[in-house]
Symmetry: C2
Subunit: 344 residues, 2 copies
DNA sequence: TTGAAAGCGCTAACAG
DNA sequence: CTGTTAGCGCTTTCAA
């Protein structure tokens, strides 16, 4: 299955490969008549230049890789979609690497992507979301970033100086608490999230802060750690409702756990938001699909992806880019939150 | 930013590049002592062979591309995840191309992937799901498949002879209808899906068939076409409920529209499944997240992706592969379906 | 067990 | 406007 090369075209057109290359890339003037002749031959043979050969020479591949922790979590497809749309216009094709949040897989992919000479990497999840990332894992990314631009989305690598794009999650959490307090809630709980992940910590810290401003606090028994799944939300809510005195509002670490919490509450015969208010986080499509529709915080996932590619593109072309781009979260008030019941 | 090459390693180790290549690939015996020396130098310099150069020579890139119509539809991430897990073990890295179901984008990507010399392509959505695909679009894929193995997932290209992996949607739809009929439903409606897409047609045909077996029929006013979104499900259900006599059960083209239908029904004060039964299709995580949990048909999305890669891998290596692999659908009975109300 | 050398398909000086 | 030629970084005969 010999594939046709630029030489075949050149021979057939009685010109040199250089000329063919020129018409291919419009890199230099070519006589109109020969250009047309060459084009015709190219099309007739369905010739497509070999991107590998070109990349080898030009030292750029026109590829960007996105490493993310879970493509089945609806937040991430949204980010990818934003990135791809932006990237497509700029001529990039995307590798997608699902690390499952596993450091080993991340490292594995980092190596592969380096071999494949991707032009840039967008990194989400896993090591950039833990509170204390082992320094060798940080170093690995930093080393890579010397040759390959890296942008961290919604995370960080302490002391790495890597470029970051993220939503201000603390502010988002604050907005949720304020919203709840305005509705009269005084006994608020926090549900879900792994304790060692920064996304969990940041939110809890923010909740505490606002609560404190109002003379309230987040008691230890009002925090239930778990992972970020629907199942976790359900289990954790079950636990919470097993206690004698239940909170009037529950802030969930993400939309998934909120959905689980809703299910649990429903099963316990509680009305939402009449008996208990529940909030999500991320603003995934899921938050709109569920009944009642979730009050949540939009992270502008699409925008996150788009901006990541924009930054990466500038970085790739040696431009100057802000080290940090912070997106404002947006509180979306829907049906899952309501006034606190006066009687408890 | 000169990156280190096999020459740099060779020079430092006082051997030829051939020897370095040999230790890199274990392609020929190398004296143990020199192997170790070379390895040491490789590691010290953090040398990583350039996959582009290697691919150019070997005519294989170790990449697979997946073209799909909508990564934000939870069905597709599941397929991707299955594919990636299988592919990773086999040494493949994945390009992900979201075509948005647009033929133009599909063509664009097809071209790009050919240039990039991907080893194989997994094609979903868009042109392979329409009832009558223009022959030039079919031809385009067929032409490509001459050089690059292509596997069609849940779709087909009439007369193309391309390899296919798909769930038996007709059987799935039949299972749903039988389930509903057993529950005593006699007036059943079908909701959602674009009329010209085969996935819609196949299901409607199957519904009709089973209905007919029971002396029932699917009247024209019991079919509401739309797209595959939550919004469509809602709108369509609104329409359906606006009619004087409402059906006792509604079969939705996918989980998304079912969720929309549920929302609409709830807003109309209908209890599910007490007043009306609603079914989804696909068995996405969403179907479990919603309240009430959706009775749906699992398409084994993960398995679909996994099998696609398996087939592709064999195809790439010149093996023989069954032209068609059919997966059995699985009816998942949950809370959104119940006995038909005797009074209507 | 090792080295020399010929490409893989393309681009980019450089020289007409 | 066009051709010649030297690589990009690697693998693989063919010889030694």
């Amino acid at each position: 299955m010999k594939s046709v090369t630029i030489y075949d075209i050149a021979r057939e057109a009685n010109v040199s490969v250089a000329t063919v290359s020129r018409v291919l890339n419009n890199s230099a003037p070519v006589k109109e008549s020969t250009r047309r002749r060459i084009m015709e031959i190219i099309e007739r043979n369905r010739f497509q230049p070999n991107a590998l050969a070109r990349s080898l020479l030009k030292k750029e591949t026109g590829t960007i890789a996105m490493i993310l922790p879970d493509i089945t979590n609806p937040f991430f497809p949204e980010v990818f979609w934003g990135a791809e749309n932006m990237g497509r216009e700029l001529g990039y094709t995307f590798f997608l690497c699902d690390s499952a949040g596993d450091y080993k897989r991340e490292s594995e992919y980092l190596g592969i992507l380096r071999e494949r000479r991707v032009d840039g990497i967008i990194f989400l999840g896993g090591r950039i979301n833990v509170a204390n990332c082992p320094s060798d894992l940080v170093q690995e990314v930093v080393d890579l970033s010397v040759h390959t631009p890296v942008v961290l989305v919604n995370g960080q690598l302490a002391g790495s100086g890597l470029h970051r794009i993220f939503t201000d999650e603390a502010k988002g959490a604050e907005m949720v608490v304020r919203h709840l307090i305005e509705l009269g809630h005084r006994d608020i709980a926090f549900l879900g999230g792994l304790e060692y992940m920064s996304t969990t910590r940041v939110k809890i810290r923010a909740v505490r802060k606002v609560l404190k401003e109002h003379g309230l606090e987040l008691a230890p028994d009002r925090i239930k750690y778990g992972d970020f799944s629907i199942q976790a939300g359900k289990t954790l809510m079950d636990e919470l409702l097993a206690s004698p005195r239940r909170p009037t509002a529950v802030i969930c670490v993400n939309d998934f756990t909120a959905v689980g919490a809703i299910k649990s509450a429903s099963e316990h015969g509680l009305g939402i938001p009449d008996d208990i208010s529940i909030t999500g986080f991320d603003g995934t499509p899921l938050s709109e699909a569920v009944i009642p529709e979730l009050t949540t915080v939009s992270q502008n996932a699409y925008e996150l992806g788009k901006l990541a590619v924009e930054s990466l593109h500038k970085l790739i072309n040696g431009g100057k880019v802000k080290k940090q781009t912070v997106l404002e979260p947006r509180l979306i008030v829907r049906k899952s939150t309501g006034p606190a019941k006066k009687v408890c």
